[in-house]
């Protein structure tokens, strides 16, 4: 028997709420923990509701730690990684999708293989190279290191999207007087905008979350990113749990805001109606 429409709807909503809860609960737990006095932290019964009188912990964390600067650095790295990766990936993605050239498979495969190398393996050689190029201890160097990892993924994702743009539309643009560059910028990019937004999300979060390079390539306190700064609180003897949770929440929020801003561009069906079928 087919369940009634209402029952099916309720069933679906329950499923969505369960998934949403699983994703949101850790964030909520961070909030509750950050607003729990240290004396209650190890109480037998866990606190369910945050104690808002403890909100001063945020002001303290903001004042006493470098969180503002770290988040600022993370933002520079993440935005830089996003912009540079997109700018670098668009043209190879177009070339892989539209041109036939000798060694094409090899280039594609090479991009893929770089994805299989773990970051930890590349840290030492990168450190040596960046030392020679005077890129150690700079955010530019960190951005470049991140870009090296995001560009191949984004290239492949964009190639897939560009494959889906009907060639007729490009030919129409050629007849209307577009150069190759005009076609890519004025016709292809707007049509792959949803994928571009998805690619931006990938690059942004890679730059935002990245830890290994940030820890190794940056030694200056002032240039630390939030991921490294946060880890610095985990001490051998003690960890100020509610401060860490407060900072963690402040570290998470900009990323959530970025995602909320971008996700409205991630809508499918842009190419609908351009060509028949």
């Amino acid at each position: 028997m087919i369940p009634a429409r209402g029952a099916w709807h309720g069933f679906r909503m329950a499923g969505i709420l369960a998934l949403l809860g699983a994703a949101a609960f850790p964030l909520y737990w961070m909030l509750v923990t950050s607003l729990t006095p240290s004396s209650d932290l190890f109480a037998d019964s866990a606190r369910i509701w945050p104690k808002f009188s403890e909100v001063g912990v945020y002001a303290d964390a903001f004042r006493t730690t470098g969180i503002a600067r770290w988040v600022g650095n993370s933002l520079i790295v993440a935005v830089g990684t996003t912009l540079v990766s997109l700018a670098l990936a668009i043209f190879p993605a177009y070339a892989l999708s539209r041109f036939r050239f000798r060694g094409m498979t090899l280039v594609g495969l090479g991009l893929f293989i770089t994805q299989m190398l773990p970051e930890a393996m590349l840290v030492v050689p990168l450190y040596a190279i960046f030392g020679d190029l005077a890129l150690l201890n700079t955010l530019t160097g960190l951005i470049l290191a991140n870009v090296a990892f995001t560009v191949p993924v984004i290239t492949w994702i964009l190639k897939g999207a560009i494959d889906g743009v009907p060639i007729d539309i490009e030919e129409a643009a050629r007849i209307d007087g577009c150069s190759r560059l005009d076609i890519v910028l004025a016709v292809v990019l707007p049509l792959v905008a949803p994928t571009l937004a998805a690619a931006a999300v990938i690059a942004f979060f890679h730059g935002w979350n990245e830890y290994v390079f940030a820890q190794t390539l940056i030694s200056d306190q002032e240039l630390r990113t939030a991921s490294v700064g946060l880890a610095g609180f985990v001490g051998e003897l003690s960890t100020p749990i509610h401060t860490v949770m407060a900072i963690g929440l402040m570290y998470t929020l900009p990323a959530v805001i970025f995602y909320l801003f971008v996700q409205r561009y991630v809508v499918a069906g842009m190419t609908a109606g351009g060509v028949k079928g």
Binding site: I169, A173, R174, D176, A186, G274, V275, K276
Partner: protein, 393 residues
């Protein structure tokens, strides 16, 4: 004024010759239809004209100016795609204006806000605005200018594609099966619109189709192609009355021309059991006995139920089309040469006016009216010309 001259245009893909040595002259304001079955090279030829495909050999001249090395945008030709190829992210107005924007394009038009303002300025300039309004009015798109292509029906999208071609006011319109995605009724009305467009806009049209009805109704000239070779180039009437070979004869006309095996005997033509006097226009072929193929249109055959001076046969199929009926008759003693039917079917198609009461299996007698018939050489399939008369086979 745009005359097009193709000289030995050839396109080879690997080991396959898609277009072979095409030489055609198209006068200004001509409506040339490139006609042929799928895979005959007609679309490739059109794409070479547009500059979307390069030539292996040959030359293309537009008004005595050689254009085959020029990029598509420098040829002053507009192209209408079978798939419409509209820009989905632009409104109908922007789709139509796009070629005009590209004419004055600067690199900084790519910049986000400034570029958008510049493009809008061109769009709203009086000259462009009026031209778009006029075009939209002709194509009945005025109410849809601010909508996106995905909200339009197939016929409306095709009109937008036409509009985008028209605003450029090009010397040549190239169209690649623009109507084949539309349903039959819409196709009829769009066909009329394109003919009207040709009359009003002027310009030279080159139109690709596999539909011989479209070719006959729209074209002032037809180039019928097969396997990359132009089989015949001429006016629709010429091609209909004097097909160059059996392929052309069978391709043009619905139902197609019947090809019946016959023999010339002196001044007579022996078809099956009937011996008929050669009509005046074929009298030059009189002479020694030889085999020929008689090409005869379905409306030049008549059905007489009683026995007479015709070909005996039996009704195989009756199709009622409305104003006329198409009747397949299996001939008892005459053979046909329709390649696509295979051997031994020996059926001819006959059109009769009105609703035929004949039923399959009825014995009939078919009489032939030889006045507009054509003779083909059975070996080569080519139409016999006066020079062939001197060399009886």
């Amino acid at each position: 004024m745009a005359s097009i001259r193709l000289k030995g245009v050839t396109r080879i893909f690997g080991s396959k010759t898609a277009v072979s040595d095409v030489s055609i002259d198209v006068a200004d304001r001509e409506f040339l239809v490139l006609l042929g079955p799928s895979g005959c090279g007609k679309s490739t030829l059109l794409r070479m004209l547009a500059g979307l495909e390069s030539l292996s050999y040959g030359e293309i001249h537009l008004n005595e100016r050689r254009v085959d090395q020029l990029p598509p945008s420098a040829r002053d030709m507009a192209f209408v795609f079978q798939s419409y190829a509209l820009y989905p992210h632009m409104t109908v107005r922007r789709n139509i204006t796009f070629p005009l924007i590209m004419r004055n394009f600067k690199w900084w038009f790519h910049l986000p806000i400034i570029g958008g303002m510049a493009k809008r300025r061109i769009e709203q300039s009086p000259a462009v605005h009026d031209l778009v309004a006029k075009t939209a009015k002709i194509l009945a798109l005025t109410d849809m200018l601010d909508r996106f292509p995905r909200t339009l029906s197939g016929g409306q999208r095709q009109r937008v594609a036409l509009g985008r071609a028209m605003v450029r006011q090009p010397q040549v319109f190239l169209m690649d099966e623009p109507l084949s995605n539309l349903d039959a009724k819409l196709r009829m009305s769009m066909r009329a619109e394109i003919i009207k467009l040709h009359r009003e806009v002027g310009g030279t049209f080159v139109y690709v189709t596999h539909d011989q009805v479209e070719a006959m109704t729209m074209g002032t000239k037809i180039a019928l192609m097969r396997d990359g070779v132009v089989q015949q180039f001429g006016t629709p009437r010429e091609i209909y009355l004097n097909p160059a070979n059996t392929f052309v004869a069978r391709f043009i006309g619905t139902p197609p021309m019947n090809l019946v095996e016959a023999r010339i005997r002196g001044a007579n033509l022996q078809v099956g059991e009937a011996s008929l006097e050669l009509p005046e226009h074929l009298a030059k072929f009189a002479g020694a006995e030889r085999a020929v193929l008689l090409g005869i249109r379905p409306n030049q055959l008549q059905i007489a139920s009683s026995s007479g001076r015709g070909l005996a046969g039996r009704i195989a199929l009756v199709e009622h089309v409305g104003a006329e009926s198409v009747i397949d008759v299996h001939l008892d003693r005459a053979a046909t040469a329709h390649l696509e039917d295979g051997e031994g079917r020996n059926e001819v198609m006959i059109t009769v006016a009105g609703y035929s009461e004949l039923r399959p299996g009825d014995p009939v007698n078919v009489s032939l009216d030889l006045r507009e018939t054509v003779l083909f050489d059975p070996a080569s399939g080519a139409r016999m010309r006066a020079t062939d008369a001197a060399h009886p086979g």
